[in-house]
Amino acid sequence: MTEVTELSLPEADAPHAREVLLNLGPQHPSTHGVLRLVLELDGEYVARVDPHIGYLHRGTEKLAESFTYTQIFPLTDRLDYLCPPSNNLAFALAVEKLLGIEAPIRAQYIRVLMAELARISGHLLIIGALPMDLGAMTALLYAMREREMIMDLMEMISGARMHTSFCRVGGVREDLPDGFFPKIREFCDIFPNRIRDYERLLENNRVFLKRTQGIGVISAADGIDLGLSGPNLRASGVDWDIRRDEPYEIYDRLAFNVITRDEGDCYARWRCRVEEMRESVRIIEQCLDQMPDGPFQIDMPTIAFPVDKDRVHCSMEALIQHFDLSAYGFKVPKGEVYSAIEAPKGELGFYIISDGSPKPFRMKVRAPSFVNLQALFGVTNARYLADMIAVLGSLDPVMAEVDK
């Protein structure tokens, strides 16, 4: 018999004597960031997984306690960096609820439009990255091509490609630029055909199907128990989408389908995302059709900078308010709020406790990736190492959001 490597396992090592301890990560391409998995392997069988996270912990919540509400927007960008507009939107909604205000309708359309663009951009990455983890490079390269178009659109809107920080409490920073509509219409025309291309590339690919179908099955009850949300839970057959069930912004004016699958395996999770991108394109097209003219920023000089700069130059009160707002921020009434949106990864919630000052007393981020990653415990026990990589890829965690 082959010799089993001697291990320095912690206490009670007798039952584990045949097992090999393997460190996967924190620097490993298939962990999608800085995730470290300590695996106890019996041959290729994963007997136990112990994820170690926190390599990217920046203390977002602690930092937020010393920032004004407007200053927190860039922090939220860096949670799920594949789709910052969604994070901005979630945070802005929470603060707006506390303030008891609502953004103007045009601003709501712009925000939803950006959030859906971000959803496509986030899904595109994972749709390409999951096959890449399993050995099929091509899809990712095509996905990056389309993602580039979204990056260009983001750049057009906000001037930044990734960390847009475009939302503000009570609206957005600027109106949409000239020439934006033809550009995004062009994208909406091209993109559905490209989705078809990804499908054609992979849905009949036998290697891809073998490695994803029936792998990492999560039942609906298990998914709920493990706190999964978003496409990961919908792939297990739970028909829950916050956009439809607790509509925020103008989602109640838009028609879209909630995509669910019944299988609950890696392929279902991949497939859910592919089809969600189609729905996102539909939502974007409706936004473009319905978007009204009007202000993009709430007209409250104590909360938002005036759109008309002349007001600041000509009126003493406006000047003082402008100074006050930029130097100290705005005060938010005492209270607490939990506000959740359907981010690309799942339920993204912000729990804010305000003590009446311009800075939050406590800000908690309910990060979907953090909870989704935990499900790796529940499904990978007694699985092959190669399958675990597929499960990890299909759960689509973004480590920046996991570690906050």
Partner: protein, 178 residues
């Protein structure tokens, strides 16, 4: 909205009497305050009751109300997938903060509780694996407490940290976790 509030309130009052205090409805969430020794019972009740079915645990978070007393708080956000209701359960904790773990009710509570332990030092009794999750093993103190400096304490690795003695919590040493 008012109908569901009164339903949740009546059902809880029927089962628990005066022990659970109602904190009202705001921004789409019903809030209740519960003593720390009843949290598991209440969660199980909310999850299992056929009219309520709060089957989804959204979030658990720690709060430090320093210098107010009692200082700590554990806040639970529950969601009912069939009814689409949200509930917030607040649990004020003394010093050192201890509360029963709800990992037996929802498996997802595991990491949330580890995070609250790591950041606030809230001890969840009955948790199967209460280790630090973000900070490294051997880190001293609980960084999200209000008396922990934003820059951390000055040491070899952190020359720009705040002056002062590293915090000592003899009763909360990391090595005596059950």
């Amino acid at each position: 909205m008012s109908a569901e509030t009164s339903l949740i309130r009546t059902l809880i009052a029927e089962r628990f009497g005066e022990a659970i205090e109602e904190l009202g409805f705001s921004h789409g969430v019903h809030a209740f305050a519960v003593p720390p020794d009843m949290i598991v019972e209440l969660c199980r009740f909310l999850k299992k009751h056929p009219a309520l079915r709060f089957d989804f645990l959204s979030d658990i978070c720690g709060v430090d109300h320093y210098p107010e007393m009692p200082r700590y708080e554990a806040v639970y956000h529950l969601y009912s997938l069939p009814n689409k209701w949200r509930v917030r359960i607040k649990c004020r904790l003394g010093d050192p903060p201890r509360v029963q773990s709800v990992t037996g009710v929802w498996r997802t509570a595991n990491w949330h509780e580890r995070e609250a332990w790591d950041m606030y030092g809230i001890r969840f009794e009955g948790h199967p694996d209460l280790r630090r999750i973000y900070m490294w093993e051997g880190f001293e103190g609980f960084p999200q407490r209000k008396d922990f400096p934003l820059r951390g304490y000055k040491d070899k690795l952190n020359p720009f940290g705040a002056e002062g003695p590293p915090p000592t919590q003899p009763d909360l040493a990391t090595n005596d976790i059950p």
